[in-house]
Symmetry: C2
Subunit: 284 residues, 2 copies
């Protein structure tokens, strides 16, 4: 996380106060500049065109799962993963300044955020109102000027929309993390053999034969390389074909990893190295 | 799909006209009754309490990825998977009767549906308005009575809200499928050795040791059992621990599958068989 933050501009999907923007500040540091984008593809395009130095995109949430669309975009744009960050998603209850918790009658947020706070909202006995996104619901509470309304959103949204935080950690399950990947045009700093906290992300497919996946994974197991993620994704309309998303511990330029990737290349018609980067450990 | 549909009541999450309801009719047949539920957990609870014969829940979308929350609920409720169905997601452009395509100025829908139709909506040159869900946006267009407004939703929503279909297949990528699982209190019909189109879904975890996953998958590869899905899910706060979701071809009561599961049980501290059921092949 010891990145040079000078002249960094980080594209993210969503509006100011979104969880992606919070992740950008936590990962890159609070002095960087951020650029909100309407779509994930806009994030990729801006980085690709050199209009921003980096993009930060969510790829999986511990409750909601992987975001395949962002893997598709990684295959379509020739960018590099240069870092990862696990954001602890903490939904804050935000209201107008001066409002007390007992004044709140309705809570606005994205349906997923409402669902994640279901038990706590039930205890409060408030009406739940579904909105398009979390940051937008914070903006709405400010714009309405309604002292009986609150929003579930990030603590960052409280700053952006000048709301007060009535309560933090409204989520019922504290084990709610979203994994973000930092993207750039150039790969991450060159391989340092003294550093053993690298991770590499790859995408590949396999010809459908019994045991093909087992053979593919053997290229890592036989070299004592640990997998930190594996996910098969059926290619729709081709029920026997799959893409595989795999992350493993190690840098693609380390000798054992390089050999494993060469070996995998013998088996996989498509193999794309998305980047090697420093691993982020989730704190409990 | 030759299910006895008499007296079937199918719980689904969403409101009438939702894609889940469309999947229920396509999978169980158009004569069954459906029961809308506010949350996924309501679906599980109603089936568990015997208030409905079945539940139908989405577990993965080819663009959006897996819905981990529904796997969590499968671990918390002691229900059985009794079937699977891949729904081709086709977003229809719905408007009030008599309206022509050239009259449309704004299109309402869930942000994900709008994103999936981005290129086609751009060609139409319409304003995009994000709503909480697809069926709700169809209801909104009916309630507004606005002849310049349209919704992106399922063809089923057209029937429910008495709208006309201006255009089908508005999605830019036709390879858009959602996989649904049918749940019931009792397991699916007993194993028939003559039938070889079974699939079984399991969840397990592993003690973190190098090569643990490789050993776990060997129990299938060594018995020529094909995997049709594999997904690792990190257990947040425990960066070295994972749950694995695996589907394989075969019935848990077939001898080779039974032996593989016994073998896997030697390696996995937690192993849960979610059910064996008839496989559904996606048509192109």
């Amino acid at each position: 996380m010891a990145l040079d933050v000078e002249n960094k501009l980080i594209a993210f999907q969503g509006e100011h106060g979104a969880y992606s923007e919070l992740a950008a500040y936590e990962y890159f540091g609070s002095v960087v500049n951020t650029l909100p984008c309407q779509t994930f593809e806009d994030v990729f395009r801006l980085v690709d065109e050199g209009q921003t130095s980096h993009g930060l995109i969510p790829v999986e949430n511990s409750l909601a799962g992987s975001i395949h669309r962002n893997y598709d975009l990684m295959l379509r744009y020739d960018l590099n993963i240069v870092g990862e960050y696990f954001l602890r998603v903490s939904h804050c209850l935000l209201a107008l300044p001066g409002v007390r918790l007992e004044d709140i009658r309705s809570v606005h947020s994205h349906p997923q955020a409402l669902a994640q706070c279901e038990a706590n909202l039930f205890k409060l006995g408030v009406e739940q109102v579904a909105e398009v996104d979390t940051a937008g619901s914070a903006r709405l509470v400010r714009d309405l000027g309604d002292k009986s309304a609150a929003a579930l959103a990030s603590k960052r949204a409280a700053d952006v929309y000048e709301l007060q935080i009535l309560s933090e950690h409204m989520e019922d399950d504290p084990a709610n993390f979203t994994r973000f990947l930092a993207l750039a045009k150039e790969p991450y700093a060159a391989y340092d053999p003294e550093q053993n906290e690298y991770k590499t992300s790859i995408v590949f497919n396999l010809v459908n034969k019994p045991g093909a996946l087992f053979k593919a994974l053997s290229v890592f197991a036989l070299r004592d390389i640990d997998l930190t993620k594996i996910e098969s994704r059926p290619i729709p309309g081709q029920p026997w074909d799959y893409m595989f998303y795999v992350d493993f511990g190690g840098h693609a330029q380390a000798l054992n990893c390089k050999r494993a990737l060469d070996h995998l290349g013998e088996l996989a018609p498509i193999l794309r190295n998305l980047g090697s980067y420093t691993r982020h450990y989730i704190q409990k």
